[in-house]
Subunit: 340 residues, 3 copies
């Protein structure tokens, strides 16, 4: 896609300083700009790049006062960051809209329906009795088991695996290799010390606007549903066990794990490599620092914890600071004991 | 599948209280019961749900004395939990038995054989010279490399990848995205600081009744075999490196990693996010707490460890309790020093 | 492939002691040798196996003095370990060279090119406008998005997913289920507490000789590139976030995670289950112990750190040793306080 600088300025309700007929065909950081690229300058710290950039055009604040001449064309707007973000979104939506149609071979089982304007990649698989909305993108090697429901405009990237009976909302994004609905990890110990699998007959429910990262796994419930609520964003390689419930608009970073039947509130922020034990609850707006282990209920909203097991963030910082000096403290205690 | 309440009662050798002709077509928790659902009541704590449930039928103890009238139909049995578990198993076996046949297109290489009553999903791939048993379920997008052996009644869910020369037993379950037999992570440092891959010519052996979780990875041995023995259950996103041996009937929770050549005993319980360093041994019946790091041999059977590095569980609990108070202890030491 | 012992000896410039016409068809550990197997003896510790091995031939040092008679055939060389490694490499290269051709069905989009002597497995997918070199192996269920570039002799094992616009060098190895180019985890908080995805328009660049483990995920950059430089080796289930840069010839063990925009130097060794926070730099030749959390810049080359948060390795060891004794130290402090 190629645009003139003037077209971009019109879209952003900005003013052109320079050649409005110059053409741009991609976006780039200002320090990496090359002919054909459109960049933006928001943070004053990077202003020096404006005078050396190879980009064909740069979106700048209309209040910016140039300190020297520029070789690029300027698009002056109210707020360059917002303008650029808006542009990015237009760009991505345009790219997404271009992806429509069905590549062969692909597989769709009996009695399954799918809405209009969708994309189904080659080697994608849809089982029986599925109800799939419109505008959905199903990339190559996606597997959708029987009886799955998917809302409108949801995107399943290459190789996503959705087990039977899962329910996925609208405007969800599932990244490559994510697994939705694998069996919960439940086994009944037998008298001889072996284990017998407890049948897992529940499912997974992802509400609208949920985002699941690459190679993340979400197990189905033993009975009932494992639920991830509206707007929650989950990073790569996260484990969500059976019967877990994660609230609305919560963010979970990479490699975190939630054990069976744990409940996470709304508007929480869970950093990376965190572990949450089973059958506990975490209040709304909780913040959990990286690598923490949550071993008991967090009842108070807005708590910030750190450590394994986790406790108050600041208290943990102070304890860690002393931890480093433990050999010294030990020596001091010995000296004291000798003196007495 | 639809059954009458009487049919279920007959299967469970129970008595119907109410309408034996009422029809049920799925299983549900008692608190989530709706028309058509069959539930059970085992724990007295949930008895109040019995009087409000929307389920069409509920399996109850024959000794239960009703405190008020019920709107549902009762199936009275000796032990509701056992009865319901038995039913679940019948249900899952029935579902599994229904899955048979071959969906096209799928790929099978020269000289490979597969037993009767199997399922092969569309886009599944079987290489050359494979020997695959009867009753095996191979879901869509499964890849089975050359010279692989698989026993009877093993299930490979969508997108499982099995490298050449792997040996998989009977009644194994491999969940979506699991990788069996990827190269061990072994590199010989060169004089210039670069690395050269050490060829990995071993394989992976999974004995009977092994369960591998979604997106778990099991590397092949450098030479010889990486082995997971009979009945061992492994959760999602676990890493099993080259030449690891895990004993019989051991349970491993999500995101745990075993480094190269580590050996784990029988009947162990390894919690989530544990790390085990290479070339060490863990005795039978060892219990390892979540997030622990095992850095040396555990020689005594039945040991329970916690921490990174791990030591005795109770000792670790006590040390962690003091850890939180370190700033206070430091202050006390300072005070003591001032006094002296 | 079958060879005579003499053929192997000629290849390794060694001398046969025994029957040069005996035939070998596979490699095995000396303690697991069986008829047809070729083994080697390098470490004197294993010499006793030489007198009992069932292997048809064993590569030994020409300086080895036998302590008793052997039932196997010897190939005497300068350095058995080097000779065997060389043989392994010949063996693997021969296996690799055998894999050539195209299995159907497979998919290749408009305007994509691929060099000679390549392998494309059934159900592999290549998008539009891709440039793929010669000698490349693309296993079944590999997905390569639009506009991807791949150098010569790179191997993508089954189910690797490469998002559009990625750039992959020559002689790279990507193990099964690896995901290259999934969206970076970036969201702009909205006034109502919900999140809006920040479009991720960058890509991933893997330079030559990079190795990516099974089910590892490498996110694309928000803008610009996430880069893994020449010769770096990454294990299974590792997370590399958006805009991360990892230097040359660095080794990263399983389940480690690099948060957004972190920079790792050349020749580093990062153990397993490590976490690196965003926007920090790690100097060349840094060594990071298992399970560590790197929370600030490491500026000095060759630093060895451990712990979460990480600090000097030896200092951490000493602190951990005291940590175990904390309950005892607490008691000593109490006693001191009572005395005063």
């Amino acid at each position: 896609m190629e645009f003139t600088v003037q077209q971009i300025a019109d879209l952003l309700q900005g003013q052109v300083q320079g050649d409005g007929n110059a053409k741009v065909n991609r976006l780039a950081k200002i320090e990496e700009g090359a002919p054909g690229a459109l960049s933006f300058l928001s943070n004053a710290k990077y202003e020096h790049f404006l005078y050396t950039t190879g980009a064909t055009a740069v979106i700048v604040s209309k209040n910016l006062e140039l300190k020297q001449a520029v070789n690029t064309n300027l698009i002056q707007v109210e707020d360059p960051y917002t303008a650029f973000s808006a542009l990015l979104e237009v760009y991505q939506n345009a790219l997404a809209a271009m992806r429509e149609g069905v590549e062969e071979p692909c597989f769709i089982g009996d009695n399954s329906t799918i809405g209009e304007k969708h994309y189904r990649g080659a080697f994608s698989y849809i089982g029986k009795n599925c109800k799939i909305g419109s505008g959905v993108h199903i990339y190559p090697h996606v597997y959708i088991g029987d009886n799955v429901t998917i809302g409108n405009n949801t995107v399943l990237y290459a190789g996503v695996k959705v087990y039977p009976d899962s329910v996925i909302g609208s405007y969800c994004t599932l990244h490559a290799g994510a697994v939705i609905g694998s069996d919960g990890f439940g086994f009944a110990p037998q008298k001889d010390g072996s284990y017998k699998a407890i049948p897992q007959i529940g499912n997974v429910v992802l509400e609208d606007n949920v985002r699941i990262g690459a190679n993340t796994t979400v197990d189905c419930a033993t009975m009932g549903s494992t639920i991830i609520r509206e707007g929650t964003k989950i990073d790569n390689l996260v484990q969500v066990a059976h019967n877990v419930e994660i609230g609305r608009h919560t963010v979970v970073a990479a490699q975190t794990a939630f054990a069976g039947s744990s409940k996470v509130g709304n508007y929480c922020t869970i950093a990376g490599q965190v572990g949450v034990v089973g059958h506990i609850s975490i209040a709304d707006r909780t913040i959990v620092g990286a690598k923490s282990g949550i071993s008991k209920n967090i009842k108070e909203e807005g708590t910030f914890v750190q450590g394994a097991p986790a406790f108050d963030y600041k208290q943990n910082l102070r304890a860690m600071a002393v931890f480093r000096k433990l050999p010294e403290l030990q020596k001091q205690i010995e000296e004291l004991r000798e003196k007495l």
